[in-house]
């Protein structure tokens, strides 16, 4: 017994260290949203609002100088930050809707198909998930430019090409998540509905769809998050459109102000709320079959033969 509790204590300490490792940087980032510009940076500064300092005058933002809340309003009023966040949210919402519809239809058709017919499609889906994103990004860039040159109505690089590129990955992801649930829940209830005289459409509407709902919501949320957070693909296919990750990246590399921390902190709080909502959905779906990350994990595992 003491041996067991000693092991337990050891594991608990390690887990504690790892959780600190995961959260300390985020906590420090949030704390530095309240960081005042350094005295040296403020020497020649005339105005009353410290946070109006341009990024190149602000000095090192990784050093703590004192407390201020002005970065929150500076961030919210920045001409490039909030529009970029809105652009990202619009693309992510559209990507989530399109990807989930494509994924749902494919999942329904494929789940009960013979493995041999399904195999090529499966390979294609897994390929879209495992090919490194940078490869997909440059391939999409070349492809979109060629399409623009040769297909009259194809949009130029921007909002729509970012969306088109992101749906590739997200549709595959949605298909796997929804199919895992669809296969997991079996066909007995659908068969029963048919036996009781319900047609294919009303069976889908009244039986299948409601039971798939947790997986549909989960895959839409996953798609939204991946799309919203995505940097590499949009960075190559954006033309002149700026998404939030693109603005962030250039800020981190070429001059950042705590206004970014402030916006990130606001979004972190919103995400925390969203994650709790997702957790509740996942919990409902897991109580019957498997959770979404589990489903993705086991599907990817199934692909490589385990």
């Amino acid at each position: 017994m003491p041996r067991v509790s000693r092991a337990k204590a050891g594991f608990s300490v390690w887990a504690g260290v790892v959780f600190v490792f995961l959260y300390l940087p985020i906590a420090v980032m949030a704390l530095f949203a309240f960081n005042k510009p350094s005295e040296a940076a403020l020497v020649g500064f005339q105005g009353t609002d410290w946070c109006a300092l341009p990024p190149d005058k602000i000095g090192n933002v990784s050093v703590w100088n004192g407390f201020t809340t002005c970065w929150f309003s500076a961030g919210l009023h920045d001409p490039s930050y909030v529009p970029a966040i809105i652009t990202s949210a619009e693309i992510a919402a559209l990507a989530a809707i399109i990807a989930t519809c494509l994924g749902l239809c494919a999942a329904l058709a494929l789940a009960r198909m013979k493995t041999k017919i399904r195999a090529p499609f499966d390979v294609l889906v897994y390929l879209t998930l495992v090919v490194p994103e940078i490869v997909v990004a440059v391939a999409s860039l070349i492809f979109f430019v060629q399409l623009r040159n040769h297909v009259p109505f194809f949009p130029q690089l921007g909002f729509w090409t970012i969306l088109i590129g992101q749906v590739v990955f997200n549709a595959s992801l949605a298909m796997l998540v929804i199919r895992a649930r669809f296969v997991g829940m079996g066909d007995t209830l659908e068969e029963a509905a048919y036996d009781l005289g319900s047609g294919p459409v009303s069976t889908f509407r009244q039986v299948t769809f409601p039971r798939l709902m947790p997986a549909i919501v989960a895959s839409a949320l996953l798609s939204f998050t991946f799309s919203f957070d995505d940097y590499v693909l949009p960075a190559f296919t954006n033309g002149t459109t700026n998404t939030w990750p693109i603005v962030l990246y250039s800020a981190v590399r070429f001059g950042i102000t705590p206004a970014v921390n402030a916006l990130a902190t606001i979004m972190l709080a919103l995400t925390a709320v969203a994650v709790i909502a997702v957790a509740l959905v996942l919990r409902r779906s897991r109580s019957r079959t498997t959770s979404a990350p589990d489903a993705v994990g086991s599907s990817l595992g199934g692909m490589i033969g385990f």
Binding site: R112, E191, W244, S298
Partner: protein, 294 residues
């Protein structure tokens, strides 16, 4: 009442008889939109990438298609090979570190938690649901040579391979912990009890039972983090300050600054080839190991 319900019943019986041979199945054409989409925008894009890698650049943004191996020959320059080697090594080291850091956490969650299990899963997920760039930037604040770690402990590791390694583990840890936690959750802990009752030492019981049974989960989880680590772009760019580029950054540079798409395409193809070779060897070794276990 009776008059109304009578024909309904008959109809239901009729449907039932017809439906007996029915297997719930959705029409195959439902898969078409997704299939067409993926073929055009994924395979089409990769196809053009392959075509570009065999093309030659004839002037500024002028491409002549053909079958030239010049771009591939250029990839086999020692300079580029060393970047390929560095990328695969860093991804391998990052994966091993992620396994070493993450497995005990997943084990602790599955074995010792009950009431707070869901909370622990959530806490693992939250960083994963926050922006990748924000997380990397947050790490930069901590690792900065004027920052907290450097000033308090004298650890100035910003812009070194160590910083990149920490960045890899930090960003990909949740992606490993969750699937491994899934396979540990399916573990039957009474097997361990049986083994210890039969006088097995705890470490031996762990090694012979728990580790063997969760090995497929570990192999899958490791692959889940290794593949994106190999294609990583953001972490080396931010945490190494451009000093320890991965192949991904090199590919990006050939498109952004060097304006040499054919060479970038060849690099991208070679990255996929290198990754596939690595993954095939890895799977061969891992499945062999597993067969011994069984």
């Amino acid at each position: 009442m009776t008059l109304l319900s009578e024909p309904k019943q008959e109809k239901a019986v009729g449907v039932k008889r017809r439906g007996r041979s029915f297997k719930p199945r959705y029409p195959t054409w439902l898969a078409l939109p997704a299939l067409v989409y993926e073929v055009i925008f994924f395979l089409g894009a990769l196809g053009i990438l392959v075509a570009f890698s065999f093309a030659t650049q004839t002037g500024f943004s002028q491409i002549t298609y053909g079958f030239s191996l010049d771009q591939y020959k250029a990839v086999f320059d020692p300079l580029y090979l060393s970047i390929f080697f560095r990328t695969l090594m860093m991804a391998a080291i990052g994966t091993i570190l992620t396994v070493m850091v993450g497995y005990p956490v997943a084990y602790w969650m599955a074995r010792y938690l009950s009431t707070y299990k869901l909370l622990a899963v959530l806490l693992i997920m939250v960083p994963f649901w926050t922006s990748f760039l924000i997380r990397t930037y947050a790490l930069k604040i901590i690792l900065d040579s004027q920052g907290f770690l450097a000033k308090t402990f004298g650890l100035d590791i910003m812009y070194t391979p160590i910083a990149v390694g920490i960045g890899l583990v930090y960003n990909y840890l949740p992606l490993f912990v969750l699937p491994v936690f899934g396979s540990l959750e399916r573990m039957d802990w009474t097997l361990i009890e049986a083994a210890t009752d039969l006088t097995a030492r705890p470490l031996r019981a762990f090694w012979d039972i728990t580790f063997r049974l969760t090995l497929p989960g570990i192999v899958t989880g490791a692959l889940l983090v290794f593949i994106p680590m190999t294609g990583e772009y953001v972490i080396p760019a931010i945490l190494s300050g451009g000093k320890y580029e991965f192949v991904g950054n090199l590919i990006g540079d050939t498109f952004n600054t060097a304006q040499n798409p054919p060479f970038g395409s060849a690099l991208a193809i070679m990255l996929m080839v290198a990754l596939s070779v690595f993954v095939v060897i890895y799977i061969a070794v891992a499945t062999k190991e597993e067969r011994f276990g069984a």
